[in-house]
Amino acid sequence: MTGHAERAAEFVENEARLHWHDQAVWFVRNKRDIARSFVPEWEELRTLGSQIKAHTLSRLPAYLEQFERNARAAGAQVHWARDAEEHNRIVHGILERRSVTRLVKSKSMLTEECHLNEYLEKNGVEVVDTDLGERIVQFRREPPSHIVMPAIHLKKEEIGELFHEKLGTPAGLADPKALTEAARQHLREKFLGAQAGLTGVNFAIASTGGVVVCTNEGNADLGTSLPPIHIACMGVEKLVPSPRELAVFLRLLARSATGQPITTYTSHFHGPRSGAEMHVVIVDHGRSRILAREEYRNSLKCIRCAACMNTCPVYRRSGGHSYGVTVPGPIGSILAPHIDAKKHAGLPFASSLCGSCTDVCPVRIDLHHQLLTWRGELASRGLVPLGKRVVSRVGGWVLARTWAYRLFGKLARLFAPLLPNPWTRQRELPPMPRESFRAQWRKRGRAR
């Protein structure tokens, strides 16, 4: 089975692309640094965001029910889905009742996580992702490689080729402005022909029953204003108590995500517009399992800004697809094992534990500590390769005995340079000294 390390090695092989990807994503990290510099109370804001989320999660059932009541009062229909499958069935059911065969979507990582597109397509519904990056990866029939910039792994030339094939743009056209214009014309047709629009949800407000969607392209607004049906899909963790708390997250989100003070569009939906219908689908899909585990609970605070991806030196040099999950990077590596620990056992190890993610996180999730906690859990559940287990056991035995340690150290210094060693494929071993520190210290006669 190939894991992150193997896929990352493939990514690294193309050195030019590696540097380009690293720099493109680092550029966004830099923009984030600049944007947050204009908010002197940034660190307090992070603490506040973290505390609000902790509070909300601590009484999530009550807030969810309050939200449901208020959303219904505003005229929306509220549906509950235990998992991805139920979510997909519910969405399809809504569409089927109204004989919808053409759906436009704005960006929703939850529906990616649930593989909604495939499900609906199998059931005869044409699904068009209308976020430019999402449309690009949809054309390529591949998952997004980043949760905020889905096509960040592609160069403009590659998008030009793709659009030439799919949209008939002139061969060799790689001007971003012209390509965007072509996409706009193409999507406009899709918007006009759509019978329903689906959006994700950035925040759901318990006290008003409204949902908030943050985009830069305005596609969520077109997709919900033209067709008569709006379906909003959200994970249970998207709740905030009231508009007062929402303000904190709106200040944190765009600055952390793209370095903008605020997204171009922050759209509030309180019930359907007249003559239309609005559905909110609330999805668990493993989230309550995370909520039940104190050591991982913080990860549910995530507002999906992707700052941890942008800062992660491993993500930038291995690309989103190397993680093999919808949400890649540090946050993805602690969420994925909850869904399938065996399948994603390699992800918590796809990190140097540098801790940069923890320090950029706008809601102070202890990301690198959770990665370490996962390593411990995976090891104790026997989901770490046997070889590693043996090395650790033997190493632990030797190191616990000073005499064995001294003997082993001496042997290692003598024989390490002669033995095959994965370290030396790309690196030299350090020159081995004849004597250890302790031997030299003793010789100096300073030991006590």
Partner: protein
């Protein structure tokens, strides 16, 4: 003042010069240095791989070995952080954990916070500072580029009175070098790519020497430098200060 040296296993076995420089430097600053010989390893290699059970006896050994001393000084941010920040996870009910954590300091931290010295000396070289992650983000030896806090660096402060030393300006001040313990081998491709990028940054900045407070990172960078026959050399801050104040 008396202090016990906590010499990480790989420093003891592979980089004895760093241990000796640490001892010499401390003695020059008036500290009586002890080296408890029963010490071996803090357990970080096992713990970071998830094998907490294998690391636990090593943590217990550390607690025992260093119990008699008032100060424990270690020339590694990563191993210091293991003792201070992660032993609680391994031994949640052992009261000795907090005591050892409170008196264990990374070398630069000890010089800066406890001895409160800024060594005077001479070191006429262009030096690039490598800020190792655990020292930076788990011990807060510096402010770090992620947080919006007043900028500071304890390591850099220690170099202020070293005549002739010129710190180079890097484009990424505190990006990880990619060592990461077993990560260096299990994710070799990314690890080495990260290391090469750090080196390239130092080359552009004109560093003759990459100095840092963790030899593990330096071993990784040095391995790449020597394989590619690049003229930059690496030096632990202890060695640099020892040489500069000789």
């Amino acid at each position: 003042m008396d202090a016990a040296l906590f010499v990480p296993c790989y420093v003891d076995q592979i980089y004895p010069s760093v241990g000796l420089a640490t001892a010499d430097l401390l003695e020059r600053l008036g500290v009586t240095v002890h080296f408890p010989e029963a010490q071996t390893c803090c357990g970080q290699p096992m713990a970071n791989s998830g094998f907490f059970d294998d690391a636990r006896p090593l943590a217990e050994k550390m607690l025992e070995v260093f119990a008699p001393y008032e100060h424990v000084v270690c020339p590694s941010g990563s191993c210091t952080s293991m003792v201070r920040n992660h032993y609680g996870m391994l031994l949640p009910r052992d009261p000795r954990v907090a005591a050892l954590g409170a008196k264990t300091r990374e070398l630069c931290e000890f010089l800066h916070d406890v001895l409160q010295v800024k060594p005077r000396g001479r070191f006429p070289h262009k030096v690039g500072l490598h800020q190792s992650c655990h020292g930076l983000r788990e011990l807060r030896l510096g402010s770090g580029s992620e947080r919006l806090v007043p900028a500071f660096s304890k390591t850099q402060a220690l170099l202020e009175n070293i005549e002739g030393l010129q710190l180079t300006e890097l484009s990424r001040n505190d990006e990880c070098c990619g060592f990461g313990g077993t990560f260096a081998v299990s994710e070799e491709a990314v690890s080495c790519a990260m290391g090469r990028d750090r080196i390239a940054d130092h080359e552009r900045a004109g560093s003759e020497i990459i100095a840092g407070a963790d030899v593990s990172c330096l071993m990784h960078l040095d391995g790449l430098l020597r394989r590619e026959k690049k003229p930059i050399r690496v030096l632990h801050v202890a060695e640099l200060l020892e040489e500069a104040t000789r």
